[in-house]
C-alpha cells in the first residue's frame, strides 16, 4: 500500500529539521538510490527471495482458488454435483438484470461507505477524548475495544436480542414507558441502518486505536507553536491535528472500508439471509447454498471482487493524493 512515499519516510526519520523541504529530499534520496543500485546489485536480486513464502501461500490459497472461481462463473454448476456445463456469459447477464443483486449492491455500498464514515468520525472523536489524561481513560478505551474481540456472529446474536420485537431489549424499555413496541428490523432502510450502526459500534475500536496512535505521533511543539500564535482549539484541530492525521485516516479508512464491504456475519445474525437487507456477501451465500446456483454465485463473487477492488483503489488514490498535498 502506497500510503506514503518511502523516501519521505526515511528522510523524516533522519532529517530532524523540518526546514529542508521537497528539493533537498528529492536530491538526497535520488542520490542514495543510485549509489545503492550500483553497489549492491547482487543483494538487490536476492532480496526478492524474501517474497517467496508469501507468494507461495498466496498462489496456493488465494490465486488458484480464485482462478477456479472465475472458471465456475461461466458454468451452471449447482455447487455439489459432479457434472455441470458451460453457459458462457449467461450468469453475468443474469446478474445485471437481477433485482436482488441490485438491492444487495446498494446495501453493500451503504454498509461499506456508511460504516466507514461513522467509524472514522466516531473513532476520531473517541480518540480525541481518550487522548487526554483523566480517570477512567484506560477502562473506557478497553471497553470500546472489547467488541472487536467478540466473534461478529455472537455480537450479531446479542444485538438481535436488543432489536427483536418480542422480549427485545429496546422494546422492553419502550414498554416500560408505555410506548408500543417497534419491529426494528422490518424491511426497509431502518434495518439497513441498524446493521450499519451495529457494525460501526463493534469495530469503531479499530479506528479509535489507529487515531490514538496517530495523535501521539504529533509532536507537542506544533501545538505549542499554535498556542503561542493564539489559535483556537478548533483552529488547532483543523490546521495541526487533521493534516497530521491524514496517514492515519488512510489506514483506518482502508481497513474499515474493506471490512464494511465484505460484511457478512452481523447481517446473518440480525436479519437472516433475507434479500431486502442482503449484502453481496450474504447474497452469494444464499445463492450458492440455498438456491443451489453455484455458477451464478461465483459470477456475483467475481463481480464483487472487481467492485471492491475499484472502490478501494479509488479511495486509496484519493487519500494518497491528500497526503502528498500536505
Amino acid at each position: 500500500m502506497e500510503t506514503y512515499p518511502e523516501a519521505k519516510k526515511g528522510e523524516a526519520a533522519q532529517a530532524a529539521s523540518p526546514a529542508s523541504p521537497p528539493a533537498g529530499r528529492a536530491a538526497r534520496s535520488g542520490g542514495k538510490r543510485r549509489r545503492r543500485s550500483r553497489g549492491l546489485g547482487a543483494a538487490r536480486a536476492s532480496i526478492n527471495a524474501f517474497y517467496l513464502p508469501a507468494v507461495a501461500l498466496f498462489s496456493v490459497f488465494v490465486v488458484y482458488p480464485l482462478i477456479r472461481g472465475v472458471w465456475l462463473s461461466f458454468t451452471n454448476w449447482n455447487g455439489y454435483s459432479q457434472t455441470y456445463r458451460m453457459n458462457g456469459l449467461a450468469n453475468y447477464q443474469r446478474l445485471i438484470e437481477d433485482p436482488n443483486v441490485h438491492t444487495a449492491f446498494i446495501n453493500t455500498i451503504v454498509y461499506g461507505l456508511g460504516s466507514t464514515l461513522l467509524q472514522n468520525v466516531l473513532g476520531l472523536a473517541f480518540a480525541l477524548l481518550l487522548n487526554n489524561r483523566f480517570r477512567g481513560r484506560t477502562a473506557a478505551r478497553t471497553l470500546i475495544y472489547l467488541p472487536v474481540m467478540i466473534a461478529p456472529l455472537i455480537m450479531g446474536y446479542v444485538m438481535y436480542f436488543f432489536v427483536r420485537y418480542n422480549h427485545g431489549a429496546f422494546n422492553d424499555i419502550l414498554g416500560a414507558f408505555g410506548v408500543a413496541p417497534i419491529d426494528w428490523m422490518a424491511e426497509g432502510p431502518r434495518a439497513v441502518a441498524i446493521i450499519t450502526l451495529v457494525n460501526t459500534l463493534q469495530f469503531v475500536g479499530v479506528a479509535m486505536v489507529i487515531y490514538l496512535a496517530g495523535l501521539q505521533s504529533i509532536p507537542a511543539m506544533y501545538y505549542e507553536a499554535a498556542s503561542l500564535d493564539g489559535a483556537s482549539p478548533w483552529r488547532q484541530f483543523r490546521h495541526v491535528t487533521l493534516p497530521m492525521l491524514v496517514p492515519a485516516i488512510t489506514s483506518a479508512v482502508m481497513i474499515n472500508l474493506i471490512g464494511g464491504l465484505k460484511l457478512f456475519d452481523v447481517i446473518m445474525a440480525l436479519a437472516g439471509g433475507g434479500y431486502s437487507t442482503a449484502s453481496l456477501s450474504t447474497l452469494i451465500n444464499r445463492t450458492y447454498f440455498g438456491s443451489e446456483a453455484a455458477g451464478y454465485a461465483s459470477a456475483i463473487g467475481i463481480a464483487m471482487f472487481l467492485f471492491i477492488m475499484a472502490v478501494s483503489a479509488a479511495a486509496q488514490r484519493y487519500l494518497s493524493r491528500k497526503e502528498v498535498a500536505i
Binding site: 547482487a42 543483494a43 536480486a45 536476492s46 527471495a49 524474501f50 517467496l52 513464502p53 449447482n78 455447487g79 455439489y80 454435483s81 459432479q82 438481535y160 427483536r164 420485537y165 418480542n166 422480549h167 413496541p181 419491529d183 426494528w184 428490523m185 422490518a186 424491511e187 434495518a191 436479519a271 437472516g272 439471509g273 433475507g274 434479500y275 431486502s276 444464499r286 447454498f289 440455498g290 438456491s291 443451489e292 446456483a293
Partner: protein, 415 residues
Amino acid sequence: MKKLVLGGVAAAMVLSLTACGATNKDSGDGKDVTLTFSTNVVGEQATALEQAIKAFTTETGIKVDFSAPGESYEDLMKTKMAANELPDVFTTHGWSVARYSDYLAPVNDQPFFSKIADQIKPVITAENGDVYVLPIDQDIAGLVYNIDVLESAGVDVDSLTTWAKFGEALAAIKATGVTPLHMGGKDSWPIGQYGDWVGPSYFITDDASNQREALKSGTFDEATWQRVGGMMADWVQAGFFNEDALTADYASDAAAIAEGKSAFGFYGNSFIVDARATNPDAKLGMMPIPAASATDAPSLIAGERIAVGVWKDSPRKDAAFKLLNFLAKDENVQAIASASGNPAGLKGVTSDIGDIQTYIDKYSAVRTFPYFDREYLPSGMWDVMCATGSDILAQKPDAVQQAALTMQQNFKDKF
C-alpha cells in the same frame, strides 16, 4: 546467497508446519480404524447419538470421530460432495434419496432392512427399489397446536378438516386476543414450512384430482400455487400472523406456542420438544393437516428424519456398516428416537415420547404423504419457496402472482 535465503525460508516453513502438525499424529497410525461420523442434529439428539457411538467404540474398538457442526451442516455436506469426499457415516436430514443417493451404499442386504417401519419405507426407497439409510426415527408431522388456546376459543381440532374451516378457527382464536400463527421469518426456512404443509393439499393429497403425475413429469401449475400463496396472503390480511413475521426467528415460534401466545405451528413433533425447552408444562397436541377441498380428507406428512447412511466410496466400509448395524440395535434406536420426540423408524421399537405417542396412535389411520419439496420439486426449489413466501408476508404488490410465476420459472429451470 539466493540458495541460502531459500533454504532459510524453507526451513522456517517446515519447522512451523511440523510444529503445528505434531499434535495430530495420533489419527491413523496403521492398523486400527477410525471412522468419521457427521450429523446435522445438535443438543440432546446429538448426545444420544454420540452415546450410542461411544458404546460402539467400547464394544468393537473401532474409533469414531463424531462431528455435529450444527447450522452449517448442509452447506458443509454440499462442499464435501463437490470434493467427492464424504464422512464414512452421516445423517441425511431428509435427503437420502433426492440428494445423497449417488453417494450412499444401498442397505437392502443389511440385517435391519426387513425391520424398517412401513410408514417410512416408501419415503426412503429410490425408484430402483434401493434404500440407502437406516431410519432411526420417522417424522410423522401434522400441525402442532396449543390445547389451552384452542379450548378457550372453543375450537375442536377434529372439526378442522378443510382449510376453510381452519380459517374460521383462526378467526375465532384471533377474536380471543391470541394471534393464531407465529412465523419466524428471519430464519427463512419457517416460511418454506408453510409451502410444504399447505402445498400437498392443493397438489397431491386429493386422490380424485391431483397433480402428482404432472409434477413428476416436469409441469408446475402456477394457478394452483396461486391458491397456496393466496391463502397465506388472506391470512396476512386478516392479521392471523404475528406482527414481526419477517423478523422473528424459529426459537420465538417455539416460545410463542409454549406460552400460549400462538395457536398452531406448521412443524413436526420436534417443535413440541423445542417448545417445552422454554416451558416444560406447555399443553401441546398434534393434528392432521386439513385438506383443500371438502371432498378430500386431512393427511399427515411422513418424512425421513434422523437417518444414517454409509458413503459408498468409504475406504472403511466394513467398519462403517458395523457401526450402522450397531446403531440399528433396538436400545440405540429407542434412545435416539426418544430424544428427538418422534416414533422409531424400525418395527418393534417404541420410543419413549410420552403424550406425542398418543397423537400418533390416534391418527395412525390417516394417510401420509412425503415432504412436498423433497418428493415433487427439483432440488434448490426450497429456497425459492422461502423467498417468494417472504414477499407475500411482506405484502408486496402482486406478491401472490409473482410468487407463482417465480415458482413455475424456477421449476422449469431446475427440473
